[in-house]
C-alpha cells in the first residue's frame, strides 16, 4: 500500500507560492509577450531587488522564530547614507573595504541591541523595531540631510561591474548577441539565500528557529535556549539588513534619507507571499525568494499594462498581499479541521 505523502505546512505554502508565481509569469508572457520573454527582463528583477531579497530573507528568519523586525528599511537607508558620506568625504581616502565594514558594523550593532531588548528583556519585537526604525530614519537625516551621489572612482567601478551569464541573452536590433547580466549584489543575494536555506534546513540552530516559533514554551521545555535563539534570529536579520543596505547602495550609488522607504513592508509582504506565517514556525527561504519575484513581476505587469500612474503599484501589491493572506488563512483553517 502506498502511503500518501502529506505535505507539512511549510512545504504546502511554498508549493502554492511557486505555482502562482509560475502561472503569473506564464500569463504575462502569453498576454503581454514582449518584454517578459527577454531574459534580461527576468534578470533585471534580480538586479532591482537584490537588496529586497536579502532583507526579506532576514525577515523570514525573524518571522519563523515568531518575531518581526520593521526596522530593516531604516537600516538600509542609514547604511547607504553612512557609506555615501564615508566614501565621498573631501579627503578622498574612503576605501571600499572600510565602507563594507561600516555597513556590517551598523547591521550587527542593530542586531545586538534589538536582539537583546527582545530576547533578554522580553519587550515586544514590534515596539523595539518600531523604535529602531524611527532611530535609523532620524539618524540618517542627522548624518546628512540632502541626498547626494557618490563620486568615489573605485566605488563607481564596483557599481558598474556586471556579471554576464553565459549562453543566455538576447539578440538586439543590430543583430548582435548581448548576453544577460546581473550585478554583484545579485550574487551576494543568491549566496545568502543558499546559505540561509542550508542553515534553516540542516543546522540545529535553524531547526531551533522553527521550534521557538512553533511553541515558545515547548521549545523551552525541550531544552532549547529560547532567549539565545531569539537573539540570534534578530542578529541575523539586522546583519542581513546591513548587507542589504550595502547592496542597495551599490545599486543606486547615492545616499538619501528617503531610500528604501517602505522596504520593511515589502520584505514582510514577500515573506508572507512566500509562505512564511506571521504566527511563526512555518516558512521557507526559497518561498521568500519567490515572494520577492512575485511582487516585482506584478509591478512589471502593472507598468507594462500601461497602468503606470504611481498609485496602481501600491494598489496591486496590496491586492496581491490580501489575496495571499486570505489563501493562507483559508488553507490553515481547512488543515485544522482535517
Amino acid at each position: 500500500m502506498k502511503k500518501k505523502i502529506k505535505l507539512n505546512d511549510s512545504n504546502l505554502l511554498l508549493v502554492i507560492t511557486i505555482v502562482i508565481f509560475t502561472l503569473m509569469y506564464l500569463g504575462a508572457i502569453i498576454f503581454q509577450g514582449g518584454g517578459f520573454t527577454k531574459p534580461q527582463m527576468f534578470f533585471n528583477q534580480f538586479n532591482n531587488n537584490a537588496a529586497l531579497i536579502i532583507t526579506a530573507c532576514g525577515m523570514s528568519v525573524v518571522m519563523i522564530t515568531g518575531g518581526i523586525d520593521i526596522s530593516v528599511g531604516g537600516v538600509v537607508a542609514l547604511v547607504s547614507m553612512c557609506c555615501a558620506v564615508y566614501l565621498d568625504n573631501p579627503n578622498g581616502n574612503g576605501t571600499i573595504g572600510g565602507s563594507i565594514l561600516i555597513a556590517l558594523g551598523i547591521g550587527i550593532a542593530y542586531g545586538i541591541v534589538q536582539g537583546f531588548l527582545v530576547a533578554y528583556l522580553d519587550i515586544q519585537p514590534f515596539i523595539v523595531s518600531l523604535a529602531g526604525m524611527f532611530f535609523a530614519r532620524g539618524m540618517t537625516t542627522i548624518v546628512n540631510t540632502a541626498p547626494f551621489n557618490v563620486e568615489n572612482e573605485k566605488f563607481k567601478a564596483l557599481k558598474l561591474t556586471k556579471v554576464t551569464i553565459p549562453f543566455i541573452g538576447s539578440i538586439n536590433k543590430k543583430g548582435e548577441f548581448s548576453p544577460a547580466y546581473v550585478e554583484i549584489g545579485v550574487i551576494v543575494a543568491l549566496l545568502i539565500v543558499i546559505l540561509l536555506f542550508v542553515v534553516l534546513r540542516w543546522t540545529k540552530l535553524g531547526r531551533c528557529f522553527y521550534a521557538v516559533g512553533g511553541n515558545k514554551q515547548s521549545a523551552l521545555m525541550l531544552g532549547i535556549n529560547v532567549r539565545r535563539t531569539k537573539f540570534l534570529s534578530h542578529l541575523i536579520c539586522s546583519t542581513l539588513a546591513g548587507i542589504a543596505g550595502y547592496v542597495y547602495f551599490l545599486h543606486v550609488g547615492s545616499g538619501s534619507a528617503s531610500h528604501a522607504t517602505g522596504m520593511e513592508m515589502q520584505a514582510i509582504a514577500s515573506s508572507i507571499i512566500g509562505g512564511t506565517m506571521l504566527t511563526g514556525g512555518v516558512g521557507n527561504i526559497i518561498g521568500t525568494l519567490f515572494g520577492v519575484l512575485s511582487l516585482s513581476t506584478i509591478q512589471n505587469i502593472v507598468s507594462l499594462a500601461g497602468l503606470d500612474q504611481a498609485w496602481w503599484t501600491g494598489i496591486t501589491i496590496a491586492a496581491m498581499l490580501g489575496i495571499f493572506l486570505i489563501i493562507q488563512s483559508v488553507v490553515m483553517a481547512q488543515r485544522k479541521k482535517a
Binding site: Y120, D122, L130, A131, G132, G138, M265, G314, A318, I326
Partner: protein, 359 residues
C-alpha cells in the same frame, strides 16, 4: 481595603504617562520656563487667539488623541494594532475634498457651504468606517493578524487617496473650512480642543452606558470563553475597527482643515506609529485584553508634548524620529517586567541592610 488596592492599580496605570508628562514638564521648566507662557496674539485672520507651547500641544495632539481612542479598542479586542490609520486618513480626507470641491482642483467657491461640508464629513465617516470594516473583516472573519491585515491598506491607502482625486490636490476656497483645524473667530481656543472634548465625552458615555468595555476586554482576554458566554467575538473585533474608522474620519477632518488641502504622501505620515505608542505609553498591553482609555489619551498628549519640546530645541522635523526612538526605548525598557523585577530586587537589597541598621 481591597477596593483601595484596585484603585491603586488603576491609578498605577495612568501613572506611567503622568510621570512621563511631569518629567517632560520639569525639563522644560528648568531649561526655559517661558515654555509655559500663554499669551494672546492676533493671528493672520485678525482674530485674537491664545498662543504658546502648551496651546500648540493641545492643538496638534488632537488627531493623536482621537486616534488613540479607536486604537485602544482595536488593541484590546484584537491583540494587535492597525497600522493603516495614516493611509486611511489620506483616503477619508481625499474623499472629503472630492465632495467639497466637487472634483474640481481649484474651485472658486463652495456652493451651499454648510450642507456640502456636512455631506462631505458624513461621506468621510462612511469611507473611514468602510476602511475599518475592510480591516475588521480580514482580522475578525479571516483571522489574519491585525498588523498584517492592515498592512494591505497601509500599502494601498495613499495610492487610493490619490486615485480618488485623480492625483489632483484640490484646495478649499472657503476660509470657513479652516475653522476645524484652526480657530473660530471670537474664540481664542483652538477648535480642535473642542472636537477632542466632544469625542472624549462620547466615548465616556459609550463606555458608561453600554457594555462595550466589558465585551472588548473579554474578547481580548479569552475569545473562546466569551463566545460561550454569548458574546460574538467576531462582531466585537469588527466593531472596534469600525469605531477606529470613525476616529480616522474625524482626524482626517482636522488634518485636511489645517491646510485646506491635502498632500497624499505626507498627510498624517507616521501617525500610526504615534497612535500605537500612545496606547503603549498609556500602560496598555499591546497583546490585548484589559485597557484604560484615559491613560491612552493622556499618552497621546505626552507624545505631542515630546514632539513640541523637541521642536523647541530646534530639532529638525526629519531627525525628530531618532529622539523619539530613544525615549520610546527608555520607556519600554523601564516598563519591561524583567527590568522591573531587577530593580525590585535591587531595591529590596538596599532596604534590608537599612532595616538592620535601625534594629
Amino acid at each position: 481595603m481591597s477596593k483601595n488596592k484596585t484603585k491603586k492599580f488603576e491609578a498605577g496605570q495612568i501613572l506611567i504617562p503622568l510621570i512621563a508628562l511631569i518629567l517632560l514638564a520639569l525639563i522644560n521648566l528648568i531649561v526655559d520656563p517661558s515654555f509655559f507662557k500663554i499669551t494672546p496674539v492676533v493671528n493672520n485672520s485678525g482674530n485674537t487667539v491664545l498662543s504658546g507651547y502648551l496651546i500648540t500641544i493641545l492643538d496638534y495632539g488632537s488627531e493623536l488623541g482621537i486616534l488613540a481612542i479607536g486604537m485602544t479598542l482595536v488593541t484590546a479586542a484584537s491583540g494587535g494594532q492597525d497600522i493603516s490609520v495614516g493611509a486611511t486618513i489620506a483616503i477619508a480626507g481625499s474623499a472629503m475634498l472630492k465632495i467639497i470641491c466637487g472634483g474640481v482642483s481649484r474651485p472658486t467657491e463652495v456652493k451651499n457651504y454648510v450642507v456640502t461640508v456636512i455631506v462631505a464629513f458624513v461621506v468621510a465617516c462612511i469611507v473611514g468606517m468602510l476602511c475599518g470594516a475592510f480591516n475588521g473583516t480580514l482580522v475578525a472573519v479571516f483571522k489574519i493578524q491585525p498588523m498584517i491585515a492592515t498592512l494591505i491598506l497601509f500599502t494601498a491607502g495613499r495610492s487610493i487617496a490619490a486615485w480618488i482625486n485623480n492625483n489632483e490636490l484640490p484646495i478649499v476656497p472657503d476660509p470657513r473650512f479652516a475653522y476645524f483645524g484652526g480657530f473660530i473667530p471670537g474664540i481664542p481656543i483652538p477648535t480642535t480642543v473642542f472636537i477632542v472634548a466632544i469625542c472624549i465625552v462620547i466615548i465616556a458615555l459609550v463606555l458608561k452606558f453600554t457594555n462595550l468595555g466589558l465585551y472588548t476586554q473579554a474578547v481580548g482576554i479569552n475569545e473562546k470563553s466569551s463566545k460561550l458566554n454569548g458574546i460574538n467575538p467576531t462582531f466585537i473585533k469588527f466593531l472596534s475597527f469600525v469605531i477606529l474608522g470613525l476616529c480616522v474620519a474625524v482626524a482626517a477632518l482636522i488634518k485636511v482643515s489645517r491646510l485646506s488641502t491635502i498632500n497624499y504622501s505626507v498627510i498624517a505620515k507616521d501617525i500610526e506609529m504615534d497612535a500605537i505608542l500612545a496606547v503603549a505609553l498609556g500602560g496598555n498591553a499591546l497583546s490585548g485584553g484589559k485597557f484604560n482609555m484615559w491613560s491612552s489619551i493622556l499618552g497621546a498628549y505626552v507624545i505631542q508634548f515630546l514632539t513640541t519640546t523637541l521642536y523647541k530645541f530646534h530639532v529638525q522635523s526629519d531627525a525628530l524620529a531618532a529622539y523619539k526612538a530613544v525615549v520610546v526605548i527608555i520607556l519600554v525598557v523601564f516598563s519591561a517586567p524583567t527590568v522591573r523585577e531587577f530593580f525590585k530586587k535591587l531595591f529590596s537589597f538596599k532596604k534590608k541592610p537599612a532595616q538592620k541598621g535601625v534594629a
